[in-house]
């Protein structure tokens, strides 16, 4: 049997009952489409979380106060513990190799007011090095300078969301005066938008010198976070160890398990988040995979019906010289063809769904070549697996019985 004959037979067989073939294909379309869409949502989420974390700053290590136990406990005690100071940050910058810069941070929420408009926003006290450490870019004006920090000047750099809230969009706030917690601050700049993250918006913020926060707003001496930037990703773990040792020494703690701070790199966070999103992706794909299996059973059902319906035809084909292999190949090609078409349409549907999800929910989706190839492979495999049994059933028919079949 020539290949072209095989395809011709397949074409005629599939088009002979268009409605049934169409509905059977639909099962596969839905299965493949949902797998692609689900995986794209999962991978999109993973990708956006990862890029958000990376956007926080390259090679970032954060030192937070609180005991070094579990992730959640550290988070819970952050801010309440008061063990880290600006001097700790300076010591890290001076004494540890491979540290690019250190930006201490003290964040609290206060009410900010401008001309009757007010917003409750995060006031982040920091130093000039914050810009490079946290990968923040300026849109207008200038950032907090070393002088501002040293003299505890009342200057403020707005995040774009805060600017929108206080001044309205497209307004240049530089030079204006806002009130934070009842104290006047002069706006000296505005940052570029960074977009929202799973950890809250990085745009709804006002940056002021950390010493100003300590003296005039919070009235404390500690910081809430030390942001440390390493010179490269290779030296991260070494720097992490050195910071731990240095701070233990400075805080007079001999047992590292009793440390009153915790040191974490972005990689640690990324790793944790990635493992969660991967599990999520697998879960989504597994749920969608069930519909794919159901679609495959649909294919098998149709092929079984077809074989029964065409029993006499199979008998005739055998009588005119078709071998078992010819018959089984013909039916197998038919089912693979059905699933393949279903796979192609399903891929288009999946991409469409992913787009729709992005448009209507704003979630990032990512259709990878990998998931498309996987879908093609899976649909073809389903055609072979679920087509095999009916094809064998057809091939094994005895020509005499088949010809007499009513």
């Amino acid at each position: 049997m020539l290949i072209s004959d095989l395809f011709e037979e397949t074409y005629f067989a599939i088009t002979a009952n268009k409605a049934r073939s169409g509905l059977t294909i639909l099962g596969i379309v839905i299965g493949i489409g949902s797998v692609i869409a689900m995986v794209s949502i999962g991978q999109g989420a993973a990708g956006s979380i990862k890029s958000n974390i990376e956007a926080m700053g390259p090679n970032l290590i954060t030192v937070t106060p609180g005991s070094q136990q579990t992730f959640s406990q550290v988070m819970a005690q952050r801010g309440s513990a008061q063990t880290l100071t600006i001097e700790d940050g300076e010591a890290i910058a001076e004494n540890i190799l491979n540290v690019q810069a250190v930006a201490p941070e003290l964040s609290q929420r206060y009410q900010a007011v401008y001309m009757g408009k007010n917003t409750n926003t995060q006031i982040t006290g920091t130093t000039s090095s914050y810009l490079s450490v946290k990968n923040v870019e300026l849109a207008l004006g200038s950032f907090i300078s070393e002088l501002d920090t040293r003299l505890s000047l009342k200057v403020a750099v707005l995040g774009p969301t805060t600017r929108d809230d206080l001044f309205g969009e497209e307004v240049d706030p530089v030079g204006k005066t806002i009130r934070i917690n009842g104290i006047n601050f002069k706006v000296i700049g505005m940052t570029q938008p960074k977009g929202g993250t799973s950890f809250g918006s990085q745009d709804d913020v006002i940056f002021i010198p950390i010493t100003t926060v300590q003296k005039f707003l919070a009235g404390v001496n500690h910081v809430s976070t030390l942001n440390v930037q390493a010179i490269s990703s290779e030296v991260m773990s070494g720097v992490q160890n050195s910071i731990t040792n240095l701070l233990l020494r400075r805080h007079n703690i001999s047992d590292s398990s009793l440390a009153d701070f915790s040191v974490m790199s972005l990689e640690d966070i990324t790793e944790a988040v990635t493992s969660i999103t991967n599990t999520l992706t697998i879960l989504l794909a597994a749920i969608a995979g069930i519909s794919l299996v159901v679609g495959g059973i649909g294919i098998m059902n149709m092929m079984m019906t077809t074989v029964t319906e065409r029993t006499r035809e199979i008998g005739l084909r055998k009588a005119v010289g078709a071998k078992r292999s010819n018959i089984s190949l013909q039916f197998l090609t038919e089912s693979v063809f059905l699933t393949f078409i279903g796979g192609i349409i399903g891929i288009l549907l999946g991409i469409g769904l992913a787009y729709a999800v992005t448009i209507f929910t704003g979630m990032t989706t990512k259709v990878s070549l990998y998931s498309i190839m996987l879908a093609c492979g899976v649909s073809t495999t389903i055609g072979i697996i679920f087509g095999y049994w009916p094809a064998q059933k057809a091939a094994k028919l005895n020509p005499i019985d088949a010809l007499r079949y009513e």
């Binding site: 005629f12 071998k323 078992r324």
Partner: protein, 237 residues
Amino acid sequence: MIEVKNITKIYQSASVETIALKDVSFSIQEGEFVAIIGPSGSGKSTLMHILGCLDTPTNGQYFLEGKDVSKLSEAELADIRKNKIGFVFQSFNLLRRTTVFRNIVLPLVYANVPKNKRAEIAKRCLLAAGLTEKHFSHLSNQLSGGEMQRVAIARALVNDPLIILADEPTGNLDSKTGDIILETFRDLNKQGKTIILITHEKYIAEKAKRVICIKDGEIVEDVFNHSSSKEVKKIKE
């Protein structure tokens, strides 16, 4: 060309053993026109299946062109059916809702005949079966019974077989159309084709050059002239 020696066919189902053919022997030469007659259940269809390599005998030998085909595998039997035998069925067995052309070339598909040669072969065979290429594009279900059987005959001819086996080819046709089909077989026989057909009808048995009558799995009569056949005379008009 065909030599059958002591063929026995036993069907085994559960506990019942049915003997369909008992020690049947005969031979058929090239160019013969043989009618096989007999009551239903006599074993003539079983004999036909064995001659057509659709089935193998339980015992005995079947030589086709001197080659014993009674012990061949399924795939080897398929090759013989493909190259040496043409079948015509009572119920035509055309592919449904399919053009005449595709029906005729079906055996060529399995014989790997190149596509550009198929139209010519199909045209020649359809002409021999009494239709013309004008019918190529007709769908099988748009044809009359006589036309369907002619298409089936054309299909049986395309592989240029040694023997044409016809299982009651006129059984589903009225007597006038049946006559035309029979004439077609006679023409093919005159052109040198060996034809073996099963029939219930007297006028067809009378046109055959040789009549073999089977009863209860055994040959009861084998004559070359129907006028000397008692069995043919017994068939009711």
